[in-house]
Symmetry: D2
Subunit: 257 residues, 4 copies
């Protein structure tokens, strides 16, 4: 009654390692970059040169956002378990719906509006419907607006420029831009496309299904968290942050004691 299980990712013989059909030693090492193999993991094929430039750009954007909650979580874990750096990188558990997960929401919005990019439909109407739906539910439209980067999130135009220079300027990018214009009119405030929205649109142009888009952020941020752990090793801040938080947050209680 048992069902067969199979994987098509990698396998080995004593003298060879194969990854997605490519010989690791002959075809991959020395030839493919880390970003290219990430693309291979996400699509089962090698990127073209232009796809590689665009994919690397969106992945690189997600590596480092400074002292984010996940970076602080990683540093806190490292402080308690310096012998298990990998467990600190599990600080990426916080890359959920609020921050990185918003890419997934935006990509889903675009891909559900345009299931087949070769039949793109009326983008103005699609944008109108999307904004109306979110506005009606009193929700924020994913992929637009930023608490700090105003009036423009500089990453969005730069990523769109890189995409366009490499031949990616299709319906998902156009729809994302139209959604932002429509939303600014309906919500009555500046709502520029943010990095998340640009990445969601470009990932959709690269034909990455929305369900895996968050994965670009997760893999990229793992790189960034290793960088934060490295800094924490040399110039620690976790204990100081903890001490201050504890002192302030319990002051009203210790005063009573």
């Amino acid at each position: 009654m048992s069902k067969p299980i199979r994987t098509d990712i990698a396998w080995s013989t004593p003298s060879t390692i194969t990854v997605k059909g490519f010989d690791l030693c002959k075809d991959i090492l020395g030839t493919l970059s880390l970003g290219d193999i990430a693309f291979l993991e996400l699509t089962d094929r090698l990127p073209t040169t232009r796809e590689s430039v665009v994919f690397n750009a969106i992945a690189v954007t997600l590596v480092e956002h400074g002292l984010t909650p996940s970076a602080i979580a990683a540093r806190m874990t490292y402080t308690g378990a310096p012998e298990a750096m990998q467990a600190a990188v599990a600080g990426l558990c916080g890359l959920g719906s609020v921050f990185v997960g918003s890419m997934e929401t935006a990509a889903r919005m675009l891909q559900e509006a345009i299931p087949d990019p070769s039949k793109k439909g009326d983008l103005d109407q699609l944008a109108h419907d999307i904004v109306e739906r979110f506005h009606g539910r009193k929700q924020a439209v994913p992929g637009i607006g930023h608490h700090m980067h105003k009036p423009v999130d500089p990453r969005a135009p730069r990523l769109f420029q890189i995409a366009a220079e490499n031949g990616f300027d299709g319906p998902y990018i156009k729809l994302m831009k139209q959604v932002a214009r429509e939303a600014e009119a309906v919500y009555g405030k500046s709502l520029p496309i943010n990095a998340t929205g640009a990445i969601a649109a470009i990932a959709s142009e690269l034909k990455l299904p929305w369900r895996i888009v968050r994965g670009i952020g997760v893999m990229a941020r793992a790189i960034g968290l290793v960088g934060h752990i490295r800094e924490e090793m040399r110039e620690p801040m976790a204990r100081e942050i903890k001490t201050r938080a504890e002192e302030e947050a319990t002051a009203h209680l210790r005063g009573k004691a």
Copy 2:
């Protein structure tokens, strides 16, 4: 009494994002690949072209090892929490002392033997002392031997070739090779350098401190785990593995019930 805290990794203004002193939009996006920014996170500087080739090669080697324990852990977690893919990537918690952590042990062995690569000492004597120390404690020497890849782990010569072609063939690589030769003589069996040993030696040539070397594996494997989650989405195996394990492992108990 509070101590100042500081980070030098990234900061932002409304119109700019800076990572390690580089303007994200102007200097990094479209220019640096994912592997290059990983190098930047680990060293605070950009790699040269040759360093980039070598660093990408060692990182790429670590992305995908097939159905490892961490891949199975990631798939199990995904099965229970498909809404939180990032938590599944926390399967990298298993990249500890047994598998990926052995890179750290090997890099430490090399860097403690040669604290300053410009003063390399007598490599034969160093290799002799290292092997004697591990052999005396009845421990395996890190970085050599592989349960499957015999008589040669094909990744090691290929990585050394890439390193040499790019100018990296210094004392750490030489010492690693001498350690393997010495160990084969002392332990009386084939003990070729494995991928871990090659990476530890090359990372040492790249001046990466041993304490951070495991981080290359952690960041790389995060990429691979996203690939496994993607496959699990489309062709799941976690539940089947679980069902079979449960049935077999409790058969002796259910027989009694």
Copy 3:
């Protein structure tokens, strides 16, 4: 501009530790059990004797479900990082929407139907509306049905019995039972209340908000996962499961190699 932060959980002086207003050494140690302090963490007050019996029963139910995906994930992580047992317990990352999280969904369903248990409304109508809503969306109703425990999940009647014996038999439990009856009629099959549904109803009677109900499962399963790690230390299975999965899942690929 900074906002104050505060916690009311615990604080210390050189000679005292206080948890939720109780002196740890004088009031808690030797007096409160692990289950009681868990209740205190969830409600800010001590349980009555009857509440303690009921709460311990639902928590105990969740400790151990055998070789679940999270147990296998924990064992896989332990295999790779035996020096970091705590990271293996992070196998609880898989306690998401599919398994333990279903308690949260069921509790939410009940508490949204009866926001104030002192004004319970028409339970038959509420049950009718709930089942109609899930059936209309072609979704399963949370808290009922079980793939193995048929026709009855024995934990549900036992938990309800313990609750009733201790004075807990209010509107949430009644509604859960009526939902099951209604669903059996509408879906046309046996749909007994499962452990999840019983726990959701009883937790609601204990006035635990639905947002925290999953937490009972998470804390309980952490205990169970330590038990699995202990067994893995003495009678390991993770490597064998991994080896078998890898061999079978890549057989079609190695045949080609």
Copy 4:
């Protein structure tokens, strides 16, 4: 060639669930508390009444230590992924060598000194040898000294009192006390037994092997972390901590920008 796998923890039939040989519904629910089932997980048997009091006391001690690094990590993760509370509890990844893991080190120290508690040897000599060994390596002796609880960690005498009242006052507790006395003489400062040391000694009296002792802390702290997540839901502090840390830590960089 495959090896059999087995578990003796739990199994089910359609109408029964069995945990460690006990019928969940008949023998456990309504009878055993959460602490007792934790003892069962750790020892394969039910505690006596006295063992239950002592075990619950040490477990309860470990539930809540206020705003620890792991609590802050959990809150940070919750902020980013409120839909995946279980991933926030993975903040327990930080319960490593520095904090909770010190229990393991202390228990190991005691159990290696007294492998068989029925043949306890000369405790003065054992304590002398232990302190000399750590002092010679310029290491701290595990289980003694506390940065805040001076001159006495009030948990230690209370836990020893509870243990003694229940018949546990054997060689491990005596050795731990003698180690503290010896260490105070050798290191020339006040080094009272801390909670960690008391728990390590009492766990050893309960015959828990040192390798699993950390697990008591991990399971207990999972309970506490759920409490912190509950507070974070209602009175969040993670974002404020993050904002302040980011502002201060990057001030020197933004000044340059």
